[in-house]
């Protein structure tokens, strides 16, 4: 981080000095002659934007995403990539969208104005969707490493991609697992009324109904709710066998904790928004034991060893969920630029559309909508305060995790 800042500030100084020298006409001619060849062989600065919430309840996930992209960019800089005959110097422009759709759009405009060549982000579907028309208008390729709402890639934008699965894959995955393995008679579905939460909850409900499981009328909170007692008390009266909540950790943890306090025995299940170790910290060991959750893609620990080691070495911690995906997203942008030999979005976008790339999360290619082909969804269960992968959902089928790892490593 310090290095990039240093590089940026040096560049800024260079620009200022360059600007000043132009104002002195006597020396101007000589200096310009000297500077021209230098610029030709010199650095080509390519800005890549990254957007995620860096404040608020999910800031830790935002930072994790940013770290993934940062690692990719630092590695690319160390590799001395040449684009258009010049040394490419990639710079990460990291922005905070505060998980707020309005701020998300403002930040998107800011990145467009800063003329970034590509964007990795946003973390949330709720901010990605309103920001997407802004990037689309500017023609800047955007790859999200974590936005799972189907709408994102259903808008017909040629520049919008994602390297994770979609809610309409993730919802069916956890619902199919629930219906097949836990066989509940009655399920309560709750969401946080956000684009993500509602989207995944709708998909879960649809799949459960199709499997002839009864679903209670939908209950809703907001993405700031921390008192779920009214909702849970009502649900407790109906005695469901399982509860699914579409929402993020900061609201999912109180939901789970208060449900147990009220004496609910149901299996609690969540989407990827609440599929992380932080749940144990916020809701406690006893409450989280046995909870189920899904993550689009493969578990962090199933990412490539090379990535995991590099991440640990650089940031002195393990990636949380989506860092391998934002890492791949940034690498995809860089790879497409290399192939097109240009950081110009118009020139490298076609390369991105037909890319076939093996990243930290396995082979990546995109379908015509910009979704990743054959994305996997993993189901986790909490055991003794740790999330353990128990099954992988791929192409409509649930495969036990141990079996999946065996076939994947072949």
């Amino acid at each position: 981080m310090k290095n990039t800042q240093l590089a940026v500030s040096l560049l800024a100084i260079a620009l200022v000095v360059g600007g000043c020298s132009k104002e002195t006409p006597q020396q101007g001619a000589k200096k310009a002659q000297g500077a021209a060849p230098q610029a030709g062989a010199g650095a080509l600065e390519i800005k890549i934007g990254h957007v995620a919430p860096l404040t608020g309840g999910n800031a830790h996930l935002g930072k994790d995403n940013e770290n993934g992209a940062r690692l990719a960019i630092e590695e690319a800089n160390a590799a001395n990539i040449k684009i258009d005959g010049k040394n490419a110097k990639f710079a990460l422009v990291a922005e905070d969208d505060q998980e707020d759709p309005k701020v998300g759009s403002t930040v998107a405009q800011k990145l467009v104005d800063a003329q970034v060549a590509g964007v990795v982000g946003h973390l949330n579907s709720g901010t990605s969707i309103p920001a997407s028309p802004i990037y689309n208008q500017a023609g800047i390729p955007v790859i999200s490493g974590s936005a799972t709402n189907p709408k994102l890639t259903e808008q017909g934008f040629k520049n919008q991609f994602r390297v994770v699965g979609r809610d309409d894959q993730q919802g069916p995955a956890i619902a199919t697992y629930l219906a097949n393995e836990r066989k509940p008679k009655l399920v309560a579905v709750v969401d946080d009324a956000s684009a993500y939460g509602e989207g995944i909850a709708n998909e879960v409900e649809k799949t459960l109904r199709a499997a002839n499981v009864k679903v209670l009328p939908r209950e809703k909170g907001t993405n700031k709710t921390n008192d779920w007692k009214a909702v849970l008390t009502k649900l407790r009266g109906r005695n469901p066998d399982a509860v699914f909540y579409g929402g993020m950790t900061s609201t999912a943890a109180p939901l789970l904790k208060q449900g147990r306090e009220l004496g609910m025995k149901a299996v609690f299940s969540f989407g990827d928004g609440a599929c992380e170790g932080e749940m144990v910290k916020l809701a406690g060991n006893a409450a989280t034991e046995g909870m189920l959750c899904s993550q689009a893609g493969i578990p962090v620990e199933a990412a490539s060893k090379k990535f995991l080691e590099a991440y640990k070495k650089r940031f002195n911690q393990d990636p949380i969920i989506y860092a391998p995906f934002t890492y791949d997203a940034a690498n995809l942008l860089i790879d497409a630029m290399k192939k097109a030999n240009s950081p110009d979005p118009k020139k490298y976008l076609p390369e991105l559309q037909k890319i076939a790339f093996t990243g930290a999360t396995g082979p990546i290619s995109f379908d015509e909508k910009g979704d990743r082909k054959d994305a996997e969804i993993t189901i986790f269960a909490m055991k003794g305060g740790k999330l353990e992968p128990i099954a992988v959902f791929k192409a409509g089928k649930v495969v036990p995790y141990a079996e999946f790892v065996k076939t994947a490593s072949k």
Binding site: T55, G56, G57, A59, H60, D192, A193, R209, K214, V215, P217, R218, E219, K220, G221, T222, K224, T225, N226, D227, K229, A230, V231, T233, K234, R236, G237, N239, S250, A253, P254, K257, Q258, E261, L262, G263, K281, L282, A283, G284
Partner: protein, 345 residues
């Protein structure tokens, strides 16, 4: 609660709620409401004396929770008895909040006491923002998990669960309210406070040190806020630097509901608001589920095959506080127990 549903009684096609659910909602509402009431006292006392809506009071509550969090977190592994740890946590939160309350009054509000009414109000919003960001700098932006060191025991009363933490919250809140009422109506300081509230100039002429009385009001309000913050943190198990704003707004609504400036009113308003909120969130989804009305169900496609079409869900929980606020302002601007808001506002 594990029993099979008893014979359902239908009223207009609606399943009547099981008794235990209703009782549970009331207990939950009562617990949250008693915390609102204690916070509302801070608003109402200050308003009663200097007609200032101290919007920074919610942040004082938040800082109370944060200080207690830090202390409890540090002492939790020390092996002290859990109750002692929580008491020490609260014991640290109270003086810190009192200091903030005093500093707030001395530095921000006292210089503006004779300024136009809008100036201190906007200053209060400014103080609120400053305190919130100060907390952001100190305690980070993350949701902090309050250490759950007191083993929570659950008691069943007529099919409703009530935890030992809930019982403790109810006991503490009602004790605080009784204590405050005794202070205001039975002591010299209380008499001075009431005199200042009635007419500061005349009270001053009678030899009451107005500045001291006002400072004392802020100190007491902040101390109550600190305790409320600790209770809130223990109850939900979470603390975050933004928690003061919504809690403050609800407590303010409770104060207005009861009649701002009126101490028993704030208590009544807080408890009522908590119950209205719990019942509202608990039942609005059923009441607005159009599929439960036979006449409509036939015309809505979503209802087919046991589907539902819910107009307003429980996510409108936070809205109830403000619906109540609006209704009170429209139909009874002086609140349930308020008498004399109009003359000074």
């Amino acid at each position: 609660m594990n029993g099979t549903p008893r014979g359902a009684v239908f009223v207009f096609g609606l399943g009547l709620p099981a008794v235990d659910t209703f009782l549970q909602q009331v207990i939950n509402g009562l617990t949250a409401g008693s915390v609102y009431a204690v916070v509302a006292l801070g608003y109402t006392m200050v308003y009663g004396i200097i007609q200032l809506i101290n919007f920074a009071h919610g942040e004082v509550v938040m800082i109370g929770a944060m200080v207690a969090f830090t202390v409890i977190n540090a002492l939790a592994p020390s092996g002290l008895p859990p109750l002692a740890v929580v008491l020490i946590g609260a014991g640290c939160a109270v003086p810190v909040c009192m200091l903030i309350g005093y500093a707030m009054e001395r530095l921000a509000y006292r210089p503006l006491r004779h300024a136009p009414r809008l100036a201190p109000l906007i200053t209060a919003i400014g103080v609120s923002i400053i305190l919130q960001h100060l907390a952001l700098l100190i305690w980070s932006r993350n949701v902090l998990a309050f250490p759950q060191i007191i083993p929570s025991r659950t008691y069943m009363i007529g099919g409703a669960a009530i935890t030992s933490v809930q019982l403790a919250i109810l006991a503490i809140c009602f004790a605080l309210m009784a204590g405050l009422a005794a202070l205001v109506y039975r002591t010299r300081l209380g008499t001075a406070m009431r005199a200042t509230a009635q007419n500061p100039q005349v009270a001053g002429l009678m030899g009451i040190d107005i500045d001291r009385v006002i400072a004392a009001t802020f100190l007491i309000g902040a101390a109550l806020g600190a305790v409320a913050g600790v209770l809130f943190g223990t109850y939900y198990g979470l603390a975050q630097y933004t928690m003061g704003s919504i809690l403050g707004l609800k407590a303010f609504s409770a104060a207005v509901l009861g009649g701002i400036g009126n101490i028993p009113g704030a208590m009544l308003g807080g408890v009522l608001l908590g119950i209205v909120e719990a019942l509202g969130a608990g039942y609005i989804g059923d009441l607005t589920n159009l599929c439960s009305y036979d006449m409509l169900a036939a015309r809505i496609d979503d209802c087919a095959g046991g589907g539902n079409f819910v107009l307003f869900g429980s996510n409108y929980q936070d809205v109830f506080a403000f619906i109540v606020l609006i209704l009170v302002l429209v139909f009874r601007p002086s609140g349930l127990l308020g008498e004399r808001v109009g003359e000074r506002a």
